[in-house]
Symmetry: C2
Subunit: 322 residues, 2 copies
Amino acid sequence: MTDPRARGVLSGDPRAVARALRLVDDRRPGHLDLLKALWPSTGKAWILGVTGNPGAGKSTLTDRLIGAYRGRGQRVGVIAVDPSSPYTGGAILGDRIRMARHALDEGVFIRSLATRGHLGGVSRSTRDSVRVLDAAGFDVVIVETVGVGQDELAITRTAGSTLVVMAPGMGDEVQANKAGLLECADVFAVNKADRDGADAAVRDLEMMIALGAPAAGAWLPPIVKSVATLGQGVDEVVSALDRHRAWVQETPAGVERSRRRLGDEMRDALGEALIEAALGALAPSIDRAVKDVEDRVIDPYTATERLVASFRGADAEPAAPA
Amino acid sequence: MTDPRARGVLSGDPRAVARALRLVDDRRPGHLDLLKALWPSTGKAWILGVTGNPGAGKSTLTDRLIGAYRGRGQRVGVIAVDPSSPYTGGAILGDRIRMARHALDEGVFIRSLATRGHLGGVSRSTRDSVRVLDAAGFDVVIVETVGVGQDELAITRTAGSTLVVMAPGMGDEVQANKAGLLECADVFAVNKADRDGADAAVRDLEMMIALGAPAAGAWLPPIVKSVATLGQGVDEVVSALDRHRAWVQETPAGVERSRRRLGDEMRDALGEALIEAALGALAPSIDRAVKDVEDRVIDPYTATERLVASFRGADAEPAAPA
């Protein structure tokens, strides 16, 4: 362990942690060396995903969870994955500002991660950022993300437990999204439970869970009602998350799930590394292939096969024109 | 051209087209040969993406567009990308049923494509399905998808023109999503324009477009008000889409955009092909690497580097332990 950046992170120095997160997020030179150096010190934090539809109250509930974990003396890192771009920002940023009351608490570290429109890129940045905070000694690392699409939901696979936050009466907008949220939920919070329709929302979720015909030994996501703005139901959410953590760490099905997820993660990382290496090694050939396809000299499938073969160091077999 | 499946598709036989779409979607053996055989007959259809938030009226407007293009004597293929899973279905399917009135019209072919939770997989299936319908002689191929996440929005990159359907008064739920929709929109329809807030929604979009500081020569997405259920504004939407098609095909900026997108598409396809080849060639090594990472014998970054090196046919350099 001679990497001074790694030493700074391991000592928990907030400035070193912030620098390391930027290095990792921008994938600047040296970021892989840093991640390798930190790896032996990872694996101790509990990773908690918080997701749900916009407007459900994710940030407010996250803020309450930070308070609850701090009350136990645990250090909390937060990665807020922000789907904003130059065009938006306002609404989401406003929510996040509430979390800023923890800014002076050195047991809390909050980092916003901008999504970059690059498929898979967010998952990787999130995964690596989580590892930095894990190595820095945070006991709980919360990954907060809007649950609006497959890519966004994929982020929650990094988590040991995922809390899905819903609000009653959001209607049709939520329907299309429910399947994805159900698949990633370990605990449901029906937040804003002082609104009309909270009980109906709970029944609706119960029915959907039952419809999924869960296997024996499978984890059944508990449904907790909360009013995050008033702090109601927060203890119950925390306790449901604790039970899920015990299930993951202590039951064969839970351990098997972690193993399967690590495999998925490694395969994703392999895919990303292959693309990066190929784009680097084959740039001129790729440009030529694009031009040939554009000119309709070759079909894109044959062109791709030849690029793969040339990346593998073999010569592409000359294919007969279709 | 000896492939009988290709001949069936090229003749426009609906059963051959349906079979080809299944072959391509399931990526069964022979699907690449079929796609290669069809390639010379592609490139004639205009690909139209239709996206927007759930509840905005995408399917109803798509139904009206089908009617409008049929009125011009054009044949229309539709690929409805459906984010449903065993858990959902109802609401979305209901919307789609309205389109079924075209089911007896042999100038219309509608195909639902289920998303499979596999990152990137949907984009590829969509792209290949579009090519099948293009080769089958459809003049317009509409790709309808819920615009709720990066992966879903990526699908619209296949399209020559993308119509984004919004409805007034959807509020916060839509905010988080607007940036992505704005980036992919070539034409905006503010649908359900008989509701309160339609003019405000138009102004809001105008402001967002202006904020994006569009470059000279760039396409400025027109905003059209519509009430799809009553057929109002449909002609204006069609005419805005026609203007965009002319821009893409006839201006230097439009041609350059198509070239850039083809490049992106080829790079995506290359990435997918690399992953597929690597998962096939390296399965036992990957399993071993996952186990080693799980046992913390090696860090995942070094493990990935070694897998990439072994896929490229080189021996991995022995890395010093971190």
